[in-house]
Amino acid sequence: MFSIDFRQIGIVAGKEFQDRIRNRWVLAVALVFTVFALVIAYFGSAQQGSVGFHSIDVTIASLVSLVIYLIPLIALILGFDAIVGERERGSLELLLTLPITRREVILGKYAGLAGALTFSTLAGFGAAGLILSPQIRLDALFHYAGFMVSALLLGLTFLSLALMLSVFASDRTRASGLAIATWFFFVLVFDMIILGALVLTAGEYGGAVFPYLLLLNPADVFRVLNIFSLDEVRTLYGLATVFPEALSHPATLGGVMLAWIVGPLAVAIWRFER
């Protein structure tokens, strides 16, 4: 109906970001990330009987296992009531009488929350990276930066999903239920279903489709993206043997993550404009 006014998006985004800074959400999440990263870096090898930083590859592999649970949960909590919360409280009605379109409201909300998530992710893991930097080589730092970017992309995909749920849900209670169900499905259930199907069919069916099925889960894309970039651990997971070379390229996987950001956001806009 109207063209997009990026100024209006910026105003809504600025308010959302400011809210998260003010209620110390960004600081709290950044602290959690820093503490976890340092604990894993220094005590990750404690089971093998040694304490202290050993290798960035092993640290990243351990962080991937943690982040795959933590970041989707944080992103879903951050975004699940972005729309339904304002609708339920009544502030959305007033907002929509102003010269701003529904599309701009969604994009502004997403941009502001994504900004908060980006800031806390980069600040949290970046602080840990700075503390570790005297002990690691430059190419290892590059790997660590790649991990940070992929962790951010993972967060942004689940934030996009959260916003979509927030538009569809009729109230906050339902939205929170949907957010928890989404987390369970992508983080816990999805892999079990695929593995179960492979085991049931003794690998006879679906073996060739398996790598493509993993692309249907942003958490798996994040895992694959990181594992393929770490020489020390890629053979450990055995994924290198089943994953087609072309599909494992970081640009391809990054593109899939971007599609996971754009897709749910587009659905959210479509639904919100109806």
């Binding site: 809210d19 502030s91 009488t97 102003l98």
Partner: protein, 303 residues
């Protein structure tokens, strides 16, 4: 159409099988203070929301300031509209001034006007306090300040005095008078009919999704032909004298309440009754004519 600032033609709204608004036609001229009254569920809020472009009409057309609601230039119209919802919900984390800054930015209004507006609604002293610390009345005032951002040509006020104390209500209507003098058009709803009956230029009575009547309060009174009341005060034996001089007129009822006598009679009997009462001379100490209240008119139309 161009002379009306609000123009609605054949507007209906269906929610599934329920028709909430049924073919409403409504025109409001610039500078008018227009009231929209009706019981809960009469369709006022739905009509309001359609006029504001919050929900689309199922059929019919609404134009505000010459532009179709939801049309390609409606964004510009929204800059010239102010809206005060019935339940003002703002952002608890922001201060009063920050709240106005946020809305001013979205309306492309200079932030410098926000402080003046806060002073105007009596919130200058609380501009730096978070909205979460505001009372209901203060939130209502802040909501009103928000509606006034950008000197709107058209104001929609939904139950605007809810939660305000008598002093704040007086201030609110003072500001409304100033706005009317400046040529601002205002559409307001209220459940407190006594409060708006002397203040609106015209009003519409909505019932069951339809506009049952529309016009000035006086025009609606006359159209309803509701009886009016004469209240007289006088000395001893007044009741007998009044009953005697009014004999033969179509008087509905004469009641005595202490030193006062109330005479209820049809409008067309008013002048003959006054002429006859004048013959009582100094026996009458005082006489007042009470027109039917807006509440009487409202219930008259409902029944």
């Amino acid at each position: 159409m161009a002379s009306n600032i609000v123009d609605a033609h054949g507007v209906t709204k269906n929610f599934g099988p329920v028709q909430a608004v049924k073919g409403v036609d409504l025109s409001i001229v610039p500078g008018e203070l227009f009231g929209l009254i009706g019981h809960n569920g009469a369709g006022k809020s739905t009509l309001f929301k359609m006029m504001l472009g919050l929900i689309p009409a199922s059929s019919g057309q609404i134009h505000l300031d010459g532009e179709a609601v939801g049309g390609p230039r409606f964004r510009d119209v929204r800059r010239r509209i102010g809206y005060l919802p019935e339940n003002v919900v703002l952002y608890d984390n922001l201060t009063g001034l920050e709240t106005l800054h946020f809305f001013a930015d979205l309306k492309t209004v200079p932030r410098s006007s926000c402080t003046t507006l806060l002073d105007k609604v009596g919130l200058g002293h609380a501009r730096a306090r978070r909205v979460r610390e505001y009372s209901k009345g203060m939130r209502q005032r802040l909501g009103f300040a928000q509606a006034l951002l950008g000197q709107p040509r058209l104001l929609f006020l939904d139950e605007p005095t809810t939660g305000l104390d008598p002093e704040a209500i007086r201030d609110f209507y003072r500001i409304l008078r100033e706005l009317r003098d400046e040529g601002v058009t205002m559409v307001l709803t209220s459940h407190i009919l006594a409060e708006i009956q002397e203040r609106v230029d015209r009003l519409a009575i909505m019932e069951d999704g339809r506009i049952r009547a529309c016009g000035s309060v006086q025009a609606l009174r006359e159209a309803m032909n509701l009886p009016l009341t004469l209240e007289i005060a006088g000395g001893a034996g007044l009741l007998e004298q009044v009953t005697r001089v009014l004999a033969g007129l179509a008087v509905e009822r004469i009641d005595e309440a202490g030193s006062l006598i109330h005479i209820r009679l049809p409008r067309e009997a008013k002048m003959p009754a006054l002429a006859r009462l004048a013959t009582l001379g100094e026996t009458l100490r005082d006489l007042q004519v009470h027109e039917p209240s807006l509440e009487d008119v409202f219930f008259g139309y409902r029944n």
